[in-house]
Every structure is written in C-alpha cells, then in structure tokens.
Symmetry: C2
Amino acid sequence: MIAKALLFDVFGTVVDWRGSIASDMQKFGAQHGIEQDWQQFALDWRSLYEPAMEAIRSGNRGYVKLDVLHRENLLTLLPRYGLENLSESAIDELNRVWHRLQPWADTLPGIYRLKRNFILASLSNGNIALMINLARHNHLPWDTILGSEPTRAYKPQPDVYLKSIEMLDLQPGECIMVAAHNSDLRAARSLGLQTAYINRPYEYGPAQTQDFEAEEQWDFCGDTMTDIAKLLGC
Amino acid sequence: MIAKALLFDVFGTVVDWRGSIASDMQKFGAQHGIEQDWQQFALDWRSLYEPAMEAIRSGNRGYVKLDVLHRENLLTLLPRYGLENLSESAIDELNRVWHRLQPWADTLPGIYRLKRNFILASLSNGNIALMINLARHNHLPWDTILGSEPTRAYKPQPDVYLKSIEMLDLQPGECIMVAAHNSDLRAARSLGLQTAYINRPYEYGPAQTQDFEAEEQWDFCGDTMTDIAKLLGC
C-alpha cells in the first residue's frame, strides 16, 4: 500500500533528550555552583518515565499530560542532586527543558525531504504544548500533532496509533511509524502500520542496553533520517 | 494579558471558499459540457452547512466529521445542477474541493509574519484531514490543528474553544481568536479569549448579508491578515 503519512516517535528518534538535558543542566549547575553528573541526571529522570506512564496505562490513574509526569519525576529527583530548595518557577523552568531539546544532526535535513511527499505528524507520548514548543524551537515541520494527548493514552497502547490514524482519515497501512525503538515499531506493525527504524545507538550513551539494531525486518531501516528519506524516494 | 497563541477561523477568514469552489466547478463543468451558475452552486453548498452542523450541536446526531457533512450536502445538491449520475469516486473528488481552497491574497504574507511571534493553530469546523490537506496545498504554517474534530463539537459550542485552549496549556486570555465573522468572535469573547476581526466583505459575493464590519469593539480589527500582523507588532 502506498504510504501517505509518516508518524514520528520524537524522544530519541527526532531529538537527543539525553545530550540536551545534560547540556542544559550543566549550565544550570554552573550558574548555581553545583557540580553533578548531569548525564546521569538525564538518565535518572528518563528512568522514571516508564513507571509513571504505566500507572496510567494500567488504569490506576486517569490520563494526565506528560509535562505533569515529568514535573512529578523531577521533584523526586531534585533532592538526590542537591537541588531541594528551588522555587516553583525555577522547577517549572527546569521542567521545560523537554520543550527545548535539540534534534540529532540528521533530523532536519531528512525531515524536510520527507515533508515534500508525505503528511508528517508527531506520534509521541509528549503532550501537545510540549510538542509545539519543541517544533517551534527546532523548526520541525509537523502538519499536526497527534499521539498521546489527542488520544488520551500512552504508547504502546493501541489507541495512540489507531485513533491518531483515524484523525488523518487514513488506513493503518497508509501510515509509516518512524522510530528508533523496536518496541514502538512492534506495536505499530501489530496494528497494521508500515515501519521505519532509525538506529540511534547513542541515545542512552554508555548506559544503552537495547535498540542497537533492527530486531525484526522492518520495512525501512537506516542510520539517519536522511537514509529513511532516500529509501522513501525523497 | 500577553497573547501567546492565535486561533484561526479558516473558511472565509483564511481561504476564499466561494471563489475557489466556483473556479473548480467551472473547470469541472467545462470538462463535462455542463453550463451552470457555479457561484450559486458554491453558495447553495455552503447554505446547507449550518443546518447540518446544527443537527449535531443540538444532540440529534452524534459527531461526524465535516467531510461527511459536506458529502451529504453535495448529494442533495447534485441533482439540482444536472449532476445526478456521477460515480462515487467522482463525488469523492468533488467533495475534496474543500481540501484545495485558495487563500485570500493577504493571507500568506500576514500569517508568516505572525508565525514568528505566536503559536498558530487552526480553530475551524473543518476536520483534521481537511485542514492538513488545505495547509499543505497552501503552505499554511499551522503549529497544530485544533478546533472541531479534536474537541468533537462544532463552533460556536464552547468546547471547541475551551478544549482547544486546554490542549495548548494556555488560558483563554492568552489566545486571540482571528475571524471574519462577528458571531465567532462573540462566542470567543464570551469565553475570555481576545479577538481579532478581519473584514471580508466579499466572502459571499453579492449574496453577502452580514459581516461587513466589526459589530463590536474587537481587540484588533483590520482589512487584511497583514493589518492584524502589524497591530500585533509583527
């Protein structure tokens, strides 16, 4: 089936959350005279992400936006890094680092080629405001924001994929899920989407334990967004 | 309050539906050897829009996308214009004229100036796929598509405005509704939004009966999108 839309995972696939957070926190630490392992801080923050979403996926908690989960997790983390006395507005500002993440070097060159031929939408667990700010910060040319908040679920729940596709008036087979995570692509393929894998072996730095390679025969596989664009004839 | 986002009415405010439909139908008629008043066809089609939405707003019918309402209304209209024997795919293609409407001449120059300083979202009764295709056809730089489909209601129902604003994590006063229709702005103002009126006295051509001028002291008023950009300091 000819694909009409590309649906993008964002954290790790489009942007480098670990490097961006570590870099921002490095500056923050310098301003406040605090020396810490900010790479570890980024990893610790991210490690609280899955369990926080799982509470919602399991039905133990109603839907809340990822900005809220990020902030709760940040509050857990701050005392471990000597940052227990920040003001509310300073905490808000730190939490918004997720709105300012930097893209991988190949993201923009690849994504603008893809934009010519395909509808492009984010299909992230990030909430709409986060995705909009991230897009404006980096000039990501989404045609619209889909994913978690519009569907009020968290990946890999099927609703996130299927309701997003219904919003585009497309069939699953007309959409390609683009992700650096085999688990995301497994969920997408099981629902009938086409799949594109981008290898991001440095997403977690030395702490990376998975997603070093395509673990299944995904429809398109590359090391960069530009590779994917080429494979799709853009 | 400082505005952060502009929410746009689209049909009549951003694009010229009457002129675009008449022009498309003129070509279609020429190809099929049919002479009709295609300006009137556009007006007749549009006249079925409000009653179709009203069935949903009143609760007599569940939410369906505007593409569906447009198609039903088109089926009502076709026999009146000697077009009762079209194939299903030809009807689908005609219905998609709404996805190919042309902007007013001032739309793009104004909207790209506004893009620099504000989040821009469509807040239309059009469904998401329609809005995406329209944006791609005309290079409208929406940050995301809000409005009817994401909120499953039809303007001027409050949910369309309020749920859209909630998706942006903003307060109503941080948003400016931009429209060529006083009724749209009245609904927005009653919910706490700021308001910007663009005068479009030719939207309905000689058949226009209202919206020749700002009927209240809207916060910003102009004859073009560029006027609004200037008033907002862009």
